[in-house]
Amino acid sequence: MTEVAALEIAGLRKTFGGVVALAGVDITVPLDQILGIVGPNGSGKTTLFNVVTGVYRPTAGRVVWQGEDITGRPSYEIARKGLVRTFQQAMSFKGLSVQENVRIAWEHRRAVRKSRSAQWASPQAILGFVGLAGHERDVAGSLPFGNLRRLGLAVALAADPMLLLLDEPGAGLNDRETAELAELIRRLPGMGIGVCLIDHDMTLMHALCSRLVVLDFGSKIAEGPTAEVLNDAKVVEVYLGSEL
């Protein structure tokens, strides 16, 4: 198996006062397959994304992106290097139109991508991809939640990511919406966009991820192919409960 190691997280530690959110985590995120990160609430998943994308500075440890140490770099700089994240809360520029939302990210997308062929020729094409064609003039804040999630994905894609970090993309969606979103996410690695996602929805994780990392109290307690991890006794105990 050839694994393109794009993002390497080594010994990453983050404490807030006395609370240890991340207790020294090592994760390697490949570009050619979807990696899922699971764990109970408070296990440090979102903190991991926040530290990797420069929202927080780590207490210790390193984040290496394509051979370059990006630990503690400002988040806008990390985004411009092709490491883009979405937010759990389905964020948008809510007073602006859908089209303007995507244009903002598009106009600040990575200029480095000259060597790679762009996936989409215009912001409009991205809206088409996520299924928001026809909603260009809608105010982002007035979109129903499912479309707001799609817009969040569109904005992130417009920033031209090489690796997309999705923070609970399925949260708040019904089964049909989740399935539609999964279909979109599944297509990304084939388009040259790596995906790493956090979610609680085991069906979604099972359907999308070839590998899983399990966090508990800020530590990695399991890692491996999805099916194996889901049958790991320790994982079942701390996260999934006694039934699976």
Partner: protein
């Protein structure tokens, strides 16, 4: 400019998302408005009518502003109009900062002061006139904005507002204690403008036209900046700063940039005001004038093209011309400001346009 005909300003009042209470800091969310684009389904004919209306409105405005001197307005009318015009230039700068980037400042009179004092000192020490000093005034005001903004914009919302207010007070103290360099509490005299392109600018009518030209230029600049990609960048900061950073926008840099740009407008306004008043002193640029400027922009509407001009007319022009008692007018401002924030989040000018449209529909 944007290519899709989506200007930063829409003249159409829109049914947008209602202002969400308790979200973000109140100064930002207070004017939580529908988007600048016209989010309507009927494109085609409606848009053509909209753009014709926009052009007609702009033409009427220019005609009225330029035509005033030929209506025998009298000395007092023109004087008040000139000082209103200079303040309005500052308001357009503040509208960019507050309306587009969502950052409020109550320090803009001080930035005007930096421009005015720069001009007066350059005139006194180096004999420079209005035109040669204009870029320096704008530059020094932008520099002052950068000096305040670099540390202060790291904090947000109310904290920044308070720091800008402190800057006003501080500047007044510095100017008052500046000895002969700033003229102390007495201030400085400014030479007459003299002749520009063969036109005697010391005639009130000609100076009025000069100020109107500068005002129209600032309105145009505000419109172009708002409609550009840079305007979009500023709006992204206003709408959601963490998301803006997450898609690669250096929000810290753009916030300081917006404050500097806004300061340059105030610097230009300051020099036009200084050459009109011919004498400047620290009290002109303290906290109270700054609060009036902030209030004017909120009353008129920071996100509409004609809002700041409307705000300047309401606060600076009408009370003088109508001889309203200053105490009465302050009470009216207070009540008016609360009413506008609650009822007309896009400002009074937008409210008037809405009223006009409603009346037109009733007739039709």
């Amino acid at each position: 400019m944007s290519s899709n005909g989506d200007p930063g300003y829409g003249t159409h009042p829109l049914p947008g998302p209602p202002p969400q209470a308790g979200e973000g800091n109140s100064l930002r969310s207070r004017q939580n408005l529908p988007p600048p684009s016209r989010g309507r389904a009927g494109v085609g004919a409606a848009d053509a009518r909209g753009s014709r209306e926009t052009v007609v409105a702009a033409a009427v405005l220019v005609l009225v502003l330029v035509g005033v001197p030929w209506l025998n307005p009298g000395y007092r009318f023109l004087s008040v109009a000139i000082s209103t015009g200079t303040v309005a230039i500052t308001l357009y700068g503040l509208a960019l900062l507050f309306g587009q980037a969502g950052i409020m400042s109550v320090g803009h009179a001080a930035l005007m002061g930096v421009g005015a004092y720069t001009a007066a000192i350059l005139s006194m020490r180096l004999g420079m006139g209005l035109w040669s000093a204009l870029p320096f005034s704008m530059f020094m005001a932008a520099l002052a904005a950068a000096l305040i903004g670099l540390p202060a914009l790291r904090v947000s919302g109310h904290h920044f507002v308070i720091i800008t207010y402190a800057f006003c007070t501080l500047l007044a103290i510095v100017l008052t204690n500046g000895g002969s360099f700033t003229g102390g509490a007495t201030g400085l005299d400014v030479e007459p403008v003299g002749t520009v392109l063969g036109i005697n600018m010391d005639r009130l009518r000609n100076y009025y036209l000069l100020v109107i030209a500068a005002l129209l230029a600032s309105m145009l600049a505000t419109y172009l900046i708002s409609a550009s990609g840079y305007g979009r960048t500023l709006r992204s900061i206003r709408e959601n700063e963490p998301l803006a950073r997450a898609v690669g926008i250096n929000t810290g840099l753009h916030k300081v940039g917006a404050f500097m740009m806004s300061g340059a407008f105030a610097g230009a306004a300051g020099i036009f005001q200084a050459y009109y008043l011919r004498h400047i002193s620290p009290t002109l640029y303290g906290g109270l004038p700054s609060l009036y400027i902030a209030m004017s922009v909120m009353l008129g509407g920071a996100r509409t093209l004609y809002g700041p001009l409307g705000g300047a007319i309401i606060v600076n022009f009408l009370p003088e011309i109508l001889n309203i008692d200053p105490v009465d007018s302050r009470i009216a401002y207070g009540a008016g400001l609360v009413a506008v924030i609650l009822l007309l989040p896009r400002g009074m000018v937008d409210g008037l346009i809405g009223l006009y449209r409603w009346a037109a529909r009733q007739r039709a």
